[in-house]
Symmetry: C2
Subunit: 464 residues, 2 copies
Amino acid sequence: MSKNVLGELIGILGKENVLTEKEDLINYSYDATADMPSRMPEVVVTPSTKEQIIDIVKLASKNKVSIVTRGSGTNLSGGTIPVNGGIVLSMLRFDKIVEVDPANLTATVQPGLVIQRLNESVAEHGLIYPPDPGTVATATMGGSVSECSGGLRGLKYGVTKDYIMGLEVVMPDGEVIRTGGKTVKNVSGYDLTKLFTGAEGTLGIITEIIVKLIPAPKYRRSMLAVFDDLDKAGKTIADIISNKVIPATLEIMDNVTIRTVENYSRIGLPVDAEAVLVIEVDGSIEEVVLREFETVKAICAENGAVSTKIAESDTERDAIFAARRAALPALAQVKPTTVLEDATVPRSKIPDMLKALKGIAEKYNLQIGTFGHAGDGNLHPTILTDESNTDEMERVHKAVDEIFDVAIKLGGTLSGEHGIGMAKSKYMELEFGKTGVGVMMKIKEALDPDNIMNPGKIFRRDAL
Amino acid sequence: MSKNVLGELIGILGKENVLTEKEDLINYSYDATADMPSRMPEVVVTPSTKEQIIDIVKLASKNKVSIVTRGSGTNLSGGTIPVNGGIVLSMLRFDKIVEVDPANLTATVQPGLVIQRLNESVAEHGLIYPPDPGTVATATMGGSVSECSGGLRGLKYGVTKDYIMGLEVVMPDGEVIRTGGKTVKNVSGYDLTKLFTGAEGTLGIITEIIVKLIPAPKYRRSMLAVFDDLDKAGKTIADIISNKVIPATLEIMDNVTIRTVENYSRIGLPVDAEAVLVIEVDGSIEEVVLREFETVKAICAENGAVSTKIAESDTERDAIFAARRAALPALAQVKPTTVLEDATVPRSKIPDMLKALKGIAEKYNLQIGTFGHAGDGNLHPTILTDESNTDEMERVHKAVDEIFDVAIKLGGTLSGEHGIGMAKSKYMELEFGKTGVGVMMKIKEALDPDNIMNPGKIFRRDAL
């Protein structure tokens, strides 16, 4: 990057908002994704107004410098690594809730807002913003929209894109557009709101977000069910849905995960179980919630659950959820490197996918713990390994290839909620073919012809 | 169109599937939209296989002939008028349900399938496909996806795009892509499924559709509430939502509509009322539905409803809904021409919009009846006029301009559920600015560089 560009950035933002020291830059050279190359940006900028962002983008566009927009860096597909150097644009100063509008069940927020703060703020109106990725307490709304996060409530409540009603976006040429709005129905022109949601920052910089809110469910009932057979757990999942009960949470952990969590936190999980399901039903009417819960309990029993643990209090409920939430940190303790995937299959294929994962672990002699959102088919096979072990990493990469191959063959997708980023760009043709990827690339090239917005993501770095 | 092209079409499809006689073509020269120019296509083709469609598209692409894909022609924004002549491609032979998959709550259908047939077919599994445009008994799935239809259940159940999980599309160069799939979570690359949903056939030809189904609600309670003041009706709508009741149906008819419907069908509507609301709550548990209904009744009473009519039986329920469904046919009887709009505003702005519409009717000395989906802000101001009355039509066009101006100023959109088509393309910059429309045009040009797919729609005919 030329001295001139740096000088102009300082002119736009002031010296204190333009970082160029190595010890500052290094924090922006990686994100939460394992087994990824890191790369230092040339400069990190922290704008606080939209006008500054417009000026930065125009400057970058003129000089063909790349911009990686960044929230909290919790990305799990290498999406926030500035692989071409250039500018990292931190949105952390855009952290305001612009408006909560209970009459229209919407909120308008800035992209640097941490997701949980939105929920804290709308709670006083009896409302919630349902998407709840695991990183809800640290991840920002902008990152969450750009990656289209999912979380534990996807089955019943959907994912981020189901709640994004409108956006303000600074385009790669510095022009500003507004998409969507506060109306539930909107079919004016192409749905740009949905196009930018999940675009991983490759098409522009989101500067404002209108989200849909829903009435908070008032009641919930939770349980943990233990199975000695993967098929029985799989059939339980299928039977719950076919009985027309849509749980808010329907999570699974396999034997490797159960053992690891128990070893990590000693909470009394059954270490010989092949699978446990964590199930929560919720709703606004207590009788309904209780009735649905009875249905779930009966289905677990019919399918031969070895035991069930019903949460009789909030404390017991929190303990069950803590076990599920411990899955990733527990697995991450076992070995130096944790390769976390999010291959996703149609719900009915969960048992097939779990069996395939077991086979892949054996074939490549790897430790794979699998947990995830069984209700929506979004599994997190997690390979426990060591980046410094070249031989093992080779097997890891082969196993990952095979995981995606199986997921696609089962009618699934490369990513349920983590995005493609750098981690999965090489598999894109597996899912969409050359033509499908080509259509996406045409859109990218039409809107960002100089490829300055988060280059090297979604598409292979050499592709654009 | 050259004789060669026609000859090749016959070669692909057989003579019996290639219509060129004037008396055949004329049926494809217009759709259900009033006050639109009609234009005859040069040929109408009715393919029955995907391979034929690919061949037709490749032929059209090579010869730069335009293709207008057509279902049942119920379009309400001039979207199916072949304004450049060329080929009308009828999808009516693609009318199969490929698969119903209750385990994954999905169905896979061909685009020529009539919407109602899908619902008849999934009913045996206790499932529904919620989007229900007024034309549910005649409109096709393909048209409905391309226009992103709404209907009477938008507030609680959302619109078409909320139920489209995956598509197969023949692109303008004849290549085939598949988008999305059967997984609830899917964030692999740009969301092409949502891009094609509502694209009005301007980006490609949809050849297969995967839809999401939901458990059918088992119970419902319905009523009609009468108000002598628009504000009271508006406040009732707002209070229902803020009491966390989300009705399946929450419809409004204004005084002009009430009088016209009563005059048309003599069903005992109160002709002096300023507004009536038709409200239905539904759900899977009877107590919940009853409880929500009591809340709705209490809110109507608190807000000074002059009277309420509770449906005590299915027959009485059907009578109430028949009154609402009579709105458009009744209004259409009054004058030779019915200009039906679907300007949409945030729910809280409904009273403002209704007052503005009253003002516009007075200002331009026009008869405007307004009815629509109050719960989701989607109103149908309907101007009763006569195309042959040049002076009045001039006032109609000015009134329409002003309706959209007000809708946008109130934070609304040009179209809630009918699409832009030809009817509203000239207003697009009002909502999106030059830049926003420019972004959409870049996408169109990138994917359909020769502008052969439904040209002259969404964008002004001279714009591309």
